[in-house]
């Protein structure tokens, strides 16, 4: 299939193929091939809840589960198809290519009918070495595409099935090269994404075989489904826990720019995949976080948070934002400066998430706020004077437990200035008074009563602030009024030494023998 000729003479002008019989036949065949290929090229990626293991009782047993009979018929057909495939390898001469592609296509169809393809049957029949053969360099595109498609679906199931792709991996990676046709490259990226999604071990294999570079390159163009598939596969590939891949990725030429571009202008589906890439980059790699912190990413995330209503997109955007704030002090120190528009925008975006109905958005936006509130006094003032406080107070009394914990972090952080040196951090009395006045004490005492160690600790720490910092000794009266003493005394013989000591110290210091004598 190359332009190699045996005669080096000058070629005439481009000839028309119309008229000759062989060409006519080729044309008809090409039309048929083109039709299938059009569909193959434009197919949409469909969700498959294959990640749930078979032992999990939550697997819905609905009509999509095939009946046993149907399944065994499918398996028989699969066995036949694999045998046919093995024979097809050896075909030579005229029509060999069509026969090979036809056999592949037959198998591919069997593997693409339902969300539970007969993978085990195919593997048992020995399909893998044959599929690897079909991936040889120089094979026609149709063949590569069908083979990669089969491999994609084989890799979409159980761990041992995904691992069965090991012999094919170097070829799959190679066919994502810049000279490959786009549909082939995309299908390979898809297969690779499934393998990477299997686990750390598979990721390491892929990375050591050089998968990162070609995949990253596929994410650079502006449009096409390939970009989205590549971004999804990358999010699987770099998810760690080893941070090296994340660091390597951000270093590749053009990647940072592509990430910003797609988040800014990509449609919601593309932006979602890229947002997850950002989540892993910022959660794993300090280098990447630092680079991203200094770019326009924050503004882009904030704008997208404000304009989108897709939960699928909001979650990774928010988390990326949270990771940026948590991971690099550059953001809070240099970007979110008081008075700047970006600072206002960030708070607004977080408030939008706090107001959302979705638990995850509420919890994680509270987390981000707690990190901003851990910043300078200026930051605390900005948050304290915003709409966020009333929302947080409400969540503290009515929200689910995990959200209440995060809210506690925000409120407590608002009341304490950054520590100077190794001394005890100073109170911001004004904030403490206002929050306690708003009725948050009850919520904190509830946390003290909870079974969760971390929550109880938070509660006790906040009580200490109240007891120490409320003017005119009001703190003691307030704590007592809300049954705080009782809550603390429960720790007297508690098994957790830490909590026991904390509670006892507070009771001894503030509710000791002298308490109540002069009131």
């Amino acid at each position: 299939m190359s332009d190699e000729t045996s005669t080096p003479q000058k070629r005439g002008p481009i000839k028309s193929p119309v008229g000759s019989v062989a060409v006519q036949r080729r044309r008809e065949h090409a039309v048929m091939v083109g039709k299938e290929r059009r569909e193959a090229l434009m197919r949409t990626k469909r969700l498959c809840r294959v990640g749930v293991s078979s032992e999990n009782a939550d697997v819905p047993v609905e009509d999509d589960m095939m009946m046993d009979e149907e399944q065994s018929v499918l398996e028989d057909q699969t066995l036949k198809a694999v045998e046919e495939l093995k024979h097809a390898i050896g075909y030579q001469g005229k029509g060999a290519m069509q026969k090979r592609v036809g056999a592949l296509r037959e198998l591919r169809r069997l593997l693409s009918k339902s969300e539970y393809p007969p993978v085990e049957a195919a593997l048992k029949a020995g399909v893998m070495p044959t599929l690897v053969q079909f991936l040889s360099f120089g094979s026609p595109d149709e063949q590569l595409l069908e083979a990669a498609w089969c491999l994609t679906n084989i890799a979409a199931g159980k761990p041992e099935e995904t691992k069965a792709l090991l012999p094919a991996l170097p070829l799959i990676i190679a066919h994502m090269g810049e000279k490959s046709s786009l549909p082939v490259a995309e299908q390979c990226a898809w297969a690779l994404g499934n393998v990477a999604g299997e686990g750390e071990e598979m990721r390491n294999v892929l990375l050591s075989q050089g998968a990162l570079q070609p995949l990253a390159r596929m994410m650079l163009p502006n449009k096409g489904s390939t970009v989205r598939t590549a971004a999804w596969a990358l999010s699987n590939l770099i998810k760690g826990p080893d941070p090296k891949a994340a660091t390597d990725l951000i270093r590749i030429d053009g990647v940072l720019d592509a990430i910003l571009r797609h988040l800014k202008r990509g449609d919601e589906e593309l932006a979602t995949e890229v947002a997850w890439v950002v989540v892993y980059l910022t959660a794993l790699s300090n280098f990447a976080t630092s680079m991203l912190a200094k770019s326009d990413l924050l503004q882009i995330i904030v704008d997208r948070l404000a304009s989108s209503n897709s939960l699928q997109l909001l979650i990774p955007l928010l988390r990326g934002l949270g990771n940026l704030v948590a991971g690099d002090s550059y953001i809070t120190n240099n970007v979110l400066v008081a008075g700047r528009e970006i600072t206002v925008n960030v708070i607004q975006a977080l408030i939008k998430c706090l107001k959302s109905e979705h638990r995850v958005l509420k919890k994680e936006s509270a987390w981000v706020l707690s990190n901003i509130a851990a910043g300078s006094v200026e930051h605390k003032k900005i948050i304290h004077s915003s709409e966020a406080v009333s929302l947080l107070m409400r969540l503290l009394s009515t929200g689910p437990f995990d959200i209440r914990k995060e809210v506690a972090y925000v409120l407590g952080n608002l009341c304490v200035a950054p520590a100077e040196g190794s001394g005890r951090p100073n109170l911001i009395v004004e904030h403490l008074v206002s929050l306690v006045g708003g009725g948050c004490l009850v919520g904190f005492i509830d946390l003290v009563r909870s079974a969760d160690t971390e929550a109880a600790r938070l509660g006790l720490q906040f009580l200490e602030l109240v007891l120490r910092g409320m003017p005119n000794g009001e703190g003691q009266k307030l704590v007592e009024a809300e049954d705080g003493i009782d809550a603390m005394e429960r720790f007297q013989f508690h098994e957790n030494e830490d909590l026991r000591n904390m509670a006892n110290e507070l009771v001894d210091k503030y509710f000791g023998e002298d308490y109540g004598l002069d009131s």
């Binding site: 190359s2 048929m32 569909e39 693409s112 919890k363 005890r424």
Partner: protein, 255 residues
């Protein structure tokens, strides 16, 4: 969480509230609730299209207009459904093929490695003298090995390639190919490289000159034959336009 412990004169060791930024690893339990749906997408099956989707595609294709193309490169004649595909196809098939043995590779780098190892006598001479000439196939790893076998071992050991992987497969040449090779060897010993290049160049020239004769349409104006980075191929070379016929055959998609 780091706890700040202060020791006052009274011996109080209370861990006072200290505002600290909290960071979590991506797989931390903290993020679990938000990751549930995402974890379900860790693997995705590629399903066949439903009838509905096929219908959508048929309708969608109409927007592009009829842009099916037959590749005009001699020996190829591939059918491409759109100009984008043509460009894809051209890049894939006619740009990274070995001019000596016509093997095709998915990247220029692999092609050049192949050419050195399989067709370059200078390469072989250096190998014979003990130089480490066989490059590692993984981009970014600059290792060089002394033999094909040791390079293979390096791939298996360092990069976890399966032992069954074979970079250079000795294909059994067809009769036609063998004859070609013999003819070439006999007649065009030294002119090989330049001849192939010339043919290649001529193909490009013909196509490009066809392009320059064409009439503009209402599409954007960038040509990118033989280049990968833009998808701007929009002009239809007149020579290729001639081939397009509304094919009335039943297998053809409805337009």
């Amino acid at each position: 969480m780091v706890m700040d412990v202060e020791e006052t004169g009274t011996g109080l060791k209370f861990p006072y509230w200290n505002p600290l930024r909290r960071r979590f690893a991506p797989d931390a339990p903290f993020f679990a609730a938000g990751s549930i749906e995402r974890e379900l997408l860790a693997k995705q099956v590629a399903l066949d299209l439903t009838e509905e989707e096929k219908q959508q595609i048929r309708e969608g294709v109409e927007d592009w207009g009829s842009s099916e193309v037959f590749c005009q490169i001699v020996g190829c004649g591939a059918y491409l459904k759109s100009l984008e595909d043509f460009e894809d196809h051209y890049n894939a098939r006619h740009m990274a093929s070995c001019s000596v043995c016509s093997r095709v590779y998915p990247t220029s780098r692999l092609l050049s490695i192949h050419v050195s190892e399989a067709h370059d006598s200078f390469f072989q001479a250096k190998v014979a003298r003990g130089y480490a000439m066989y490059e590692c196939l993984v981009e970014g790893c600059d290792a060089k090995l002394k033999s094909y076998k040791s390079r293979h071992q390096h791939l298996v050991d360092k990069h976890k390639f399966p032992p069954s992987f074979e970079f250079f497969k000795k294909a059994k040449p067809s009769k036609r190919q063998r004859q070609k090779v013999l003819r070439k060897q006999a007649l065009h010993k030294t002119e090989n490289a330049s001849t192939e290049m010339q043919v290649e160049q001529e193909n490009i020239d013909n196509l490009v000159s066809a392009v320059s004769r064409l009439s503009t349409s209402d599409s954007p104006s960038s040509i990118s034959f033989g280049r990968r980075h833009t998808r701007g191929l929009a002009f239809v070379p007149r020579a290729i336009q001639k081939e397009r016929r509304p094919d009335p055959s039943p297998e053809q998609m409805k337009r």
